[in-house]
Symmetry: C2
C-alpha cells in the first residue's frame, strides 16, 4: 500500500479543498439511498429531521471517516452508512443543544433553529428520531454478511461515543462547568463532548473492516485533531470577532467560559495549537497514504472560520 | 418441547402474579450488572437517569420478553441485556413525553417527573443518555461470539421499533391527532406508539437466538396483546374514574381524544377487547409452553388498573 501511494507525486495530487469537496459529494450523493422515508402520517417529523440534516453543514466527521478510509485503502461504500449515522447523531445533538432548556439558540447556520420552525415538541422528537435512526442505519447497512461483526462493533463504539461516556456526558460537563477551572477538566470536557465522536468517525473504517493494524495511530491522530479543532475554535472566538464589525469581542471571555484562551491566554493557546498540530502530523505520518490527513490537520490549524 | 410442557399439570403451576413477580425479580437483579456507571463529572445525569429508571414501573416489556423466552425454552440470561435496553428506551420515552413542550406532566407514578427534579435541560439529556446507552448495551451484551448476528439483528429491530416508523412516529401521530378520527388511524397510531416496542420485546428471544420457528405466532400474539393493552387502557380511563371519588369522568372524552371508547362507545370497545383477547389466546396456543402467555393476555383483559 505504501509503495502504491508513493507512486503519486505531490504534483499530481489535487488540492485539499478539492479533495474535501469530492468526499462531501460522495457522502451527499450516497446518503440518499439510506436517509429514512417514513409513513405519511409522520411526515412532519421527516420534514423537521431533513430541515436540520440538510442545513449545509461542513460534514467534517463523514469527510474525516472517508479520508481515513482512503488512506488505508478500504472500500468507501462500506463505511458510507456509518458516515450517515455519525452525521445524523451530530445533527440531533445540535437540535437538542439549541433548545430553550439547553443553549437557547434561535439560529443555526444562519437559519432559524429547528424548534423555532417546528416547535419545541417536534424538535425534541426530531432529535430522538435522528438518534434512533442512526443506529438503525448503522446496524442494517451495508447488507453484507462479511460485515456483521464489524457493524455490531461499530454500533457499540458509536453508542459509547454518543452517550453518557461521550458526547452527552460532555454536554453535561459543559452545563456544569465553572465548578472546576483547569486544563484537566477542559480537556476531559472536550474529549467527551466533541472528541469521542471525532474519534469514532476516524476509526469507523477500521472497526467496520475489522482491520486494527493502524488502530493506535489513527486513534492518536483523531484525538489530536479533535483537540486542535477545539483550541482553534476557542482562538477564533476571540480573533475572528475582532475583525468583524459590530460584533463584541470575546463572547467566551465575557461569559467567563472555560476555554483554552480564557485559561491560558491567546499566545499560549496558539502555542498549544501548534504543538497539537505537530503531534497530529507525527501520528498521521505513521499511517500509509496520509497526505490528506496531514493536509487536513494543517488546514484546521490555520483556518480562519 | 410440547410434550415436556405437557408434563406440568395446571395444579403444579404457580399463579400468574407469582410468575410475573419472579420474572420482574430476575430482571431487577440481573440488570445491575449492565446498568451504566459513568465518570464522576457526569454523575448528575447518572442520578437523573436512575431516578426515572428505578421509579417502580411494571416492567411489562421485559417481563413479556422473559415469558416468551421461557415459553420457547431459550436461555433467559441471553436476553437480559435486551430487556434492559427495551426498558431504558421505554423510560427515556416517558421522560421526554412528560416535558413541558410535550405532554407537560408534572407527575409520573406518583413522583415529580424528571424535569421537575433535574430541570428540563438535564431531563432532555437523561432521555438522550438512556436511549443511546440502550443501544450500547444491546450491541455489547452478552459478550458471546455465537450471538453476534442475533445481537446485530436485535439492534436493528429495536431501532426500527423505537424510531420514526415506531414509537417516535406514533408520538408524532398522537400530537397530530384530531385530523383523522377513524379506526384505521387509531390502530396505526397505537401499533406505532406502543405496539412496535411490545412486538420487539416479544420477538427479542427469537431474534437474538436466530430461531424464527415461531416468529409469526409470537408476532401475532404480541400485536394482539399490544392492542388489547390499549383498548383496556381506554376503557379504564372511563370506568376506573367512575369509581374514584373526586375524579372527573372520562378525561379522554372531555378532551375529545381519539380512543376506542370515544370512537365506538364503551360497550362496543369491550366487545372489541374480548375479540382481541380471543385472537391473542388463539395465537398463543400455537406457541409451545404458552400457559403464562395465555394467562397474561387474560389478565390484561380483566385488569382493573
Amino acid at each position: 500500500m505504501k509503495a502504491k501511494a508513493g507512486l503519486k507525486t505531490k504534483m499530481s495530487r489535487m488540492s485539499l479543498s478539492d479533495y474535501l469537496e469530492k468526499k462531501r459529494e460522495f457522502f451527499e450523493k450516497g446518503l440518499k439511498n439510506f436517509f429514512p422515508s417514513t409513513f405519511n402520517e409522520a411526515s412532519i417529523i421527516q420534514k423537521s429531521m431533513e430541515y436540520s440534516f440538510f442545513a449545509g453543514g461542513k460534514r467534517f466527521r463523514p469527510v474525516l471517516a472517508l479520508t481515513v478510509c482512503e488512506a488505508l485503502g478500504k472500500d468507501k461504500e462500506d463505511i458510507l452508512p456509518a458516515c450517515l449515522a455519525i452525521e445524523m447523531i451530530h445533527t440531533y445533538s445540535l437540535i437538542h443543544d439549541d433548545l430553550p432548556a439547553m443553549d437557547n439558540d434561535d439560529f443555526r447556520r444562519g437559519k432559524p433553529s429547528n424548534h423555532k420552525v417546528f416547535g419545541e415538541g417536534m424538535a425534541i422528537l426530531a432529535g430522538d428520531g435522528l438518534l434512533t435512526e442512526a443506529f438503525y442505519i448503522a446496524a442494517r447497512y451495508p447488507e453484507k454478511d462479511n460485515l456483521v461483526k464489524g457493524k455490531l462493533d461499530f454500533v457499540k463504539e458509536l453508542a459509547n461515543a454518543a452517550g453518557i461516556r461521550g458526547m452527552v456526558g460532555g454536554q453535561v460537563m459543559d452545563i456544569d462547568q465553572g465548578k472546576e477551572f483547569n486544563e484537566d477538566y477542559l480537556i476531559k470536557l472536550h474529549m467527551a463532548k466533541t472528541g469521542a465522536m471525532i474519534r469514532v468517525s476516524a476509526l469507523a473504517p477500521l472497526i467496520i473492516s475489522e482491520d486494527y493494524t493502524y488502530f493506535s495511530q489513527v486513534e492518536s491522530y483523531a484525538s489530536s485533531l479533535g483537540l486542535l479543532f477545539q483550541i482553534t475554535d476557542d482562538i477564533l472566538d476571540v480573533e475572528s470577532s475582532k475583525d468583524k464589525l459590530g460584533k463584541t469581542t470575546g463572547k467566551d471571555i465575557e461569559q467567563n467560559k472555560l476555554t483554552f484562551v480564557t485559561l491560558f491566554g491567546l499566545d499560549e493557546a496558539k502555542k498549544k495549537a501548534k504543538e497539537v498540530l505537530d503531534k497530529a502530523v507525527g501520528y498521521a505520518e505513521k499511517i500509509p497514504d496520509s497526505y490528506y490527513l496531514i493536509e487536513l490537520a494543517k488546514y484546521i490549524f490555520s483556518r480562519d472560520k
